[in-house]
Symmetry: C2
Subunit: 220 residues, 2 copies
């Protein structure tokens, strides 16, 4: 019993005091507004040809951008117009909205990682005088952090891991179960949706920090 107690004491002490360092790298936070990724086929159906769409703006993740055209989403209960189309084209059309949007549209999307579209609802996607009856593809994007392998190493996290992130703001919240996504192609940035941003009183420039156990070096 005493030995177990001592072991626990040593662990707690190592976690908490003297010579231990916190992960204090600040992560830029971005709020992802509702948007759609279109398949090449759907792009061609709505706009005749992919060439009709031009790049309007580059996004923070290298190679990602917003097109200059917009679509309208129609659900059983309501309509949301002026929805951004992100590029490049994807294999499957994917609609990313918030709970607030879901209520407006009258759809019931699950929280999913990008690309995991099985057993999701669809809706109507319209542009000009053309409409697509999307069978599936409406999700609430699971909050996540993009980072390079080097950044992952510095933050002591791995691809696919879930972490807690404290959003430092006027109305601070700790978001649990935040997915870590690591790739050489990424740039350090946390993506949350408008509901999460509003809950944390997000403003441009708001940052987050991963909450981890303290790391001691050298051990006591």
């Amino acid at each position: 019993m005493k030995e177990e107690l001592i072991k626990q004491i040593v662990e707690k002490v190592m976690e908490n005091i003297e010579g231990c360092q916190e992960n204090s790298i600040e992560i830029p936070v971005e709020v992802s507004a509702r948007h759609i990724h279109l398949s090449k086929e759907h792009m061609e159906f709505l706009f005749d040809s992919e060439d009709q769409l031009k790049v309007l703006k580059e996004l923070s993740q290298p190679g990602q951008f917003v097109y200059d055209k917009r679509v309208t989403l129609m659900g059983p209960k309501g309509v949301i117009s002026n929805v951004a189309i992100l590029g490049p084209a994807r294999r499957d059309t994917q609609v990313e909205i918030s709970y607030t949007d879901a209520r407006t549209l009258g759809v019931n999307p699950p929280i999913r990682e990008s690309g995991a579209l099985e057993n999701t609802e669809g809706l109507i996607i319209a542009a000009g005088v053309r409409a697509i009856n999307l069978d599936q593809g409406v999700i609430i994007a699971k909050r996540h952090i993009h980072m390079t392998p080097k950044e992952a190493e510095a933050l002591h996290v791995k691809d696919g891991q879930h972490v807690k992130v404290r959003i430092k703001s006027q109305r601070p919240v700790i978001l649990e179960e935040v997915l870590v996504r690591v790739s050489e192609k990424y740039k350090l940035s946390m993506h949350i949706d408008h509901d999460e941003g509003n809950a944390a009183a997000y403003q441009t420039g708001t940052v987050g920090e991963i909450i981890t156990k303290l790391r001691c070096s050298p051990p006591l």
Copy 2:
């Protein structure tokens, strides 16, 4: 140095292991939709007389209720209709909205405790063919927990204290700086707004728990 270290170790151990108990009382969480509290004067102006308003539904806090009439809010950028009026009448008219609503209306409310309306913006409140130019009173309600003195004692918290609350849901978040409000008239319930509810994937029946340091009894 060693003495200080030992003191810290003892503290950490007492906080963390053996014979220590967590606060595990579950707190019912309610999402407050946008609403307005009207002064008697404004009620009479909009509806001729307070008697024109009937109680539609009692709320969770004893003595609080929703009236059977609604108002429309108009800001510089947009309009939100069908806004609930909560009773009884207050000394000052107070509009409680979310960041999402604030953006729709084009107003910039601060996060405030109920009743703290100095230096806040106003907007137009309309009902039927009457409108009030409210000078001030638009706030985003600071998240809070109502409880009785007995519940406060059981939870080891005091009136006016701020606590962290973990919302237990499919998309868990820890809300920091949650105000504790204690009164014999209250019933245990945490109030958050729609943004906070959506961020936590709130559903009817969702509960929260206060995150506190562990308490040891008897001390080691």
